[in-house]
């Protein structure tokens, strides 16, 4: 579904990603782990067009989307729940969810049942239901995170990029986020998950990539990575 090949990207003259290749098959949950500053967020930003890649190809369902602008990439079915949540603070929870379906509402993607999907999101994240008419800026961090995920799902995406959905959450909420991700996986949603909780991410994922200083150092089936002594020593020690 999503194939990234020899992706080079960065910020201005600073090159962060040094030729990344990764593959997310349809219906799979792939995780990208690595230490702070390794380039995980940069990878997702390059994929969704928030930064323009210097070179490389990004294939989404057969088309190269490298170099397209963010809104064009979204309209081709790439949803991105960005680092830091980035909900729209002066709009209500309901409006935030509706905007997630913007391409569907404006004819760029199959419309389907937007209203029913909002109800489905609220069933998935019941906390949002009680806060429907509340401004997103007044939600707690955990609630905003759920809103950001729900908003991305409203696209009915081909691929969902999740950047640290557990960041800054209380342990109980982290568990909740992971069980939601497991549920989305059962629903066959194609996902690329960036996580600081490497062990938990590898538990739920099918396949994993380890990013080190802008390069993929190891990759393999999630269970194998989890068993690998090198990965355990570097990434699973503290988080487990």
């Amino acid at each position: 579904m999503l194939q990234v090949e020899n992706l080079i990207a960065g910020y201005g003259k600073v090159q962060v990603l040094q030729s990344i290749s990764l593959n997310v098959a349809k219906g799979q949950l792939v995780t990208l782990i690595g230490s702070n500053g390794a380039g995980k967020t940069t990878t997702l930003r390059a994929i969704s067009g928030m930064i323009t890649p210097e070179s490389g190809t990004i294939m989404l369902g057969g088309d190269n989307i490298a170099g397209l602008s963010t809104h064009q990439i979204t309209r081709r079915g790439m949803a991105h729940s960005p680092e830091g949540r980035r909900v729209f603070p002066t709009l209500t929870v309901a409006d935030n969810l509706e905007l997630g379906a913007f391409p569907r509402l404006t004819g760029a993607r199959p419309r389907g049942e937007v209203k029913a999907d909002i109800e489905r999101m609220i069933a998935l994240f019941p906390r949002l239901g009680e806060r429907r008419q509340q401004l997103a800026g007044t939600l707690s961090g955990g609630e905003q995170q759920m809103l950001a995920m729900a908003r991305a799902l409203m696209l009915q995406p081909e691929v969902l990029l999740l950047d640290e959905p557990s960041m800054g959450l209380a342990p109980r909420l982290v568990e909740e986020v992971f069980s939601t991700i497991a549920r989305l996986k059962r629903e066959k949603i194609t996902m690329l998950l960036v996580e600081q909780f490497a062990a938990a991410a590898l538990d739920v994922a099918d396949y994993g990539y380890v990013l080190e200083n802008g390069r993929i150092s190891v990759h393999g089936p999630a269970a194998e990575l989890k068993a690998s002594p090198a990965v355990r020593a570097a990434y699973l020690g503290a988080a487990h």
Binding site: T70, P89, T90, L91, E98, L99, R109, L155
Partner: protein
């Protein structure tokens, strides 16, 4: 002294001045509302907003004889949309892309001057009389005389701003505009073409100015220079009200409009701009974000 003030409060003249102050103030408010529309989406504004008003009035004056004042409004609106888009494309887009602060300021001022010269060449340098669409006979409310056109100005301005507010709150495209104002990158992730949203906010901003132009034209004189002072005063209003608050700019407009008319009558027309400017200076030194604003002004 006190008795004098009291006697003024019950005099019809005082209330008549308030009424014209409100009408003028609404125009300032509408133009400032336009500044705020583009500032919200792009943190830039069109310093040629006064010229957008002037062009609207002159285009309206040209079109009106062929139809009627009321049928001319949609034509002026369409012209405003077009003119605003041109300003954004030529003067602002590139500056936003390279994050140049001076770029859009210079470019919108320059475009404003070009529009003024253009208007002088097309419509001449003399002020023209805009035929009033409704009776010029004042209506009397308990001895207070109000021009019917003043009521049209106030109603027109309020309707226009309410429609825009309604659009922003209710329609998915309006919500896309608000989303772009909140967080441009995140709006892009929703599939919103934020560049187009910014063009649209410029178009809408010029539309409001152009309509404001045909609203004031019948009570003032119409000509190439009519917009300059209005644009500048509305800018002061935008600063007083706060560039982040649509409500604030209307209140700011009313404050300026009323102080001006009162000063003009009770002191001297020569001093009529002074209180408003003093107020501007006071706001800038005490609450630089504007009376109703968050912290927007530091960016200008």
């Amino acid at each position: 002294m006190f008795e004098y003030l009291l006697s003024q409060l019950v005099s019809p003249v005082f209330w008549q001045l308030i009424a014209s102050g409100v009408a003028v103030g609404m125009i300032y408010g509408v133009i400032a509302f336009g500044y705020q529309l583009t500032f919200a989406t792009s943190k830039t504004l069109n310093f040629g907003q006064g010229e957008a008003l002037m062009l609207g009035a002159l285009v309206g004056l040209t079109v009106a004889p062929y139809t009627s004042y009321w049928l001319m409004l949609p034509v002026v609106a369409a012209f405003g949309l077009l003119q605003g888009s041109v300003v954004e494309r030529l003067g602002v887009r590139q500056a936003i892309k390279i994050k140049s602060e001076a770029g859009w300021i210079m470019a919108t001022i320059a475009l404003g001057i070009i529009f003024k010269n253009l208007a002088e060449n097309i419509w001449g340098r003399d002020d023209l009389k805009f035929p009033p669409p409704i009776s010029e006979k004042p209506l009397s409310f308990h001895g207070v005389n109000v021009l019917p056109m003043e009521l049209v100005i106030v109603a027109g301005a309020i309707i226009m701003m309410l429609l825009i507010e309604l659009f922003n709150r209710r329609s998915i495209y309006g919500k896309a505009v608000v989303a772009t104002s909140n967080d441009r990158d995140a709006a892009g992730l929703m599939g919103i073409n934020t560049g187009l949203v910014i063009t649209f906010s410029y178009a809408l901003s010029s539309l409001t100015a152009a309509i404001a132009g045909v609203l004031v034209a019948p009570v003032t004189l119409t000509g190439a220079t009519m917009g300059s002072a209005l644009g500048l005063k509305a800018f002061a209003v935008a600063i007083i009200g706060g560039l982040s608050s649509g409500f604030g700019v209307v209140v700011g407009g009313l404050i300026l409009g009323i102080t001006e008319t009162l000063t003009g009558y009770y002191f001297s027309t020569g001093y009529k701009d002074v209180p408003g400017l003093l107020l501007l200076l006071a706001v800038l030194s005490i609450k630089p974000s504007g009376l109703f604003g968050k912290s927007a002004i530091k960016k200008v």
